[in-house]
């Protein structure tokens, strides 16, 4: 998912930077200082995840933790992913500084989408629905991120369908692993610290509460 420097055209880079700045602003605005340690810990997890490579499939791929980032952080995943990608590009030369915006969008947007779509399912009562939601979030985040990456490469002369197929096939094992991992981690959290999931629930509705209290 990490696009290198010099691949994309200036228009795509600027569009990505503007969108990423917007998303980060929203994320920071919605973030409560109380959530800061959690955001930082998840950023650290995201930062190291890209070093775990899987020697499966036709290409070289690595873990992303996108579904978990979305489910646990909500909108805060924007600043988290931005910082993680910045450090990855500075320390590991993974990705690049000029593509930071585009890469942030390609990863944070899918995380937010799965948070909005599967988040309510994950916070439901019951045994099977939340776990199914977690599995879907893990898999779909990687799927959407692959499509976003293919879409950004669309403007640099690569054909969308071929590129999308290539990236998707390369990331199929990651989809499976992230689905299993999301189920695993969320089922532990539900049993041990259910308020972690509840807390990210409350900040979706906080805007509504504010309006009501006024």
């Amino acid at each position: 998912m990490h696009i290198s420097d010099g691949v994309l055209s200036a228009e795509v880079l600027i569009a990505g930077a503007v969108l990423a700045a917007g998303g980060t602003a929203v994320g920071l605005k919605k973030m409560d200082m109380d959530q800061m340690p959690r955001v930082a810990v998840m950023t650290a997890a995201f930062f190291v995840a890209s070093l775990i490579h899987l020697p499966i499939g036709p290409s070289s791929v690595h873990l992303l933790f996108l579904g978990l980032m979305g489910l646990l952080l909500g909108w805060s995943c924007f600043p988290a992913i931005l910082v993680g990608l910045l450090l990855q590009s500075l320390l590991f030369q993974h990705g690049g500084l000029t593509v930071l915006g585009v890469n942030t969008i390609n990863m944070a947007l899918p995380a937010i989408i799965v948070y909005l779509v599967f988040g309510p399912l994950v916070r439901r009562e019951g045994n099977w629905l939340p776990l199914a939601g977690a599995a879907c979030a893990g898999a779909f985040a990687v799927l959407l991120s692959s499509l976003c990456t293919a879409f950004s490469l669309l403007f640099s002369g690569e054909e969308f369908t071929t590129m999308a197929r290539l990236i998707l096939i390369a990331n199929l094992p990651i989809m499976g692993i992230e689905a299993v991992m999301s189920v695993f981690i969320l089922s532990i959290m539900r049993r041990v610290k259910p308020e972690i999931l509840g807390a990210s629930l409350s900040d979706t509705f906080r805007g509504g509460e504010d309006v009501a209290s006024k």
Binding site: H2, I3, S4, D5, G6, V7, L8, M33, D34, M36, P37, R38, V39, A40, V41, M42, T43, A44, A45, F47, V48, A49, S50, L51, I52, H53, P55, S59, S60, H62, V83, G84, L87, Q88, L91, F92, Q93, H94, V99, T149, S152, L153, E158, M163, L166, I167, A170, I185, I188, M189, V192, K193, E195, I196, A199
Partner: protein, 169 residues
């Protein structure tokens, strides 16, 4: 708040320990070129040692004009005759947004040094260098993240106190 994050801390600590104990590779492609007589050989590979198949290799001169283009074979190799005695920039496009460059200077392209250089390079070639990410860099990145957290919390608290002070005074 503190104990709410204890589980997350435990998970991340476990991850970091796991990472430090296994080889960590940055996810980027590499291209490496050497000269043998009148031919320039290139080899392209991912940091974990896998070769880049069907990657596009483009060769530019010092004025950035494209001299030639080619595709890497099943072993990640692509060779071409020396196009001209200029500084060459060799760019590898490994699709999916991966890209790497290698610079060959004009001196490397001709003259006696090539033979010696070749000996060196083919040795390197057989033991393809893997880019391991040193554990220090991983810890360094985590340190940065924690410092950003600490600083923002510090300034937030300071501002909150200041506001409170102004309110009561």
């Amino acid at each position: 708040m503190l104990h709410r994050n204890r589980l997350l801390h435990a998970i991340v600590t476990a991850l970091v320990v796991l990472l430090l104990s296994m080889p960590a590779f940055a996810h980027k492609v590499n291209i490496f070129a050497w000269v043998e007589g009148d031919t320039v050989h290139t080899e392209s590979y991912f940091p974990d040692g896998r070769v880049v198949q069907k990657g596009t290799v483009s060769v530019y001169d010092s004025e950035d004009s494209l001299l030639l283009k080619g595709v890497t074979d099943e072993e990640g190799l692509f060779s071409f005759p020396v196009p001209k005695g200029d500084d060459l920039t060799i760019v590898l496009d490994a699709s999916m947004g991966h890209r790497a460059t290698y610079r060959l200077s004009a001196e490397e392209l001709g003259g006696k040094e090539t033979a010696a250089a070749h000996g060196e390079h083919s040795l390197q070639n057989s033991q393809r260098p893997k880019d391991r990410v040193p554990a220090v860099k991983i810890l360094c990145g985590i340190g940065y993240i924690m410092s950003i957290m600490g600083l923002s919390m510090y300034f937030y608290e300071k501002r909150k106190k200041k506001k409170k002070g102004l309110g009561s005074g």
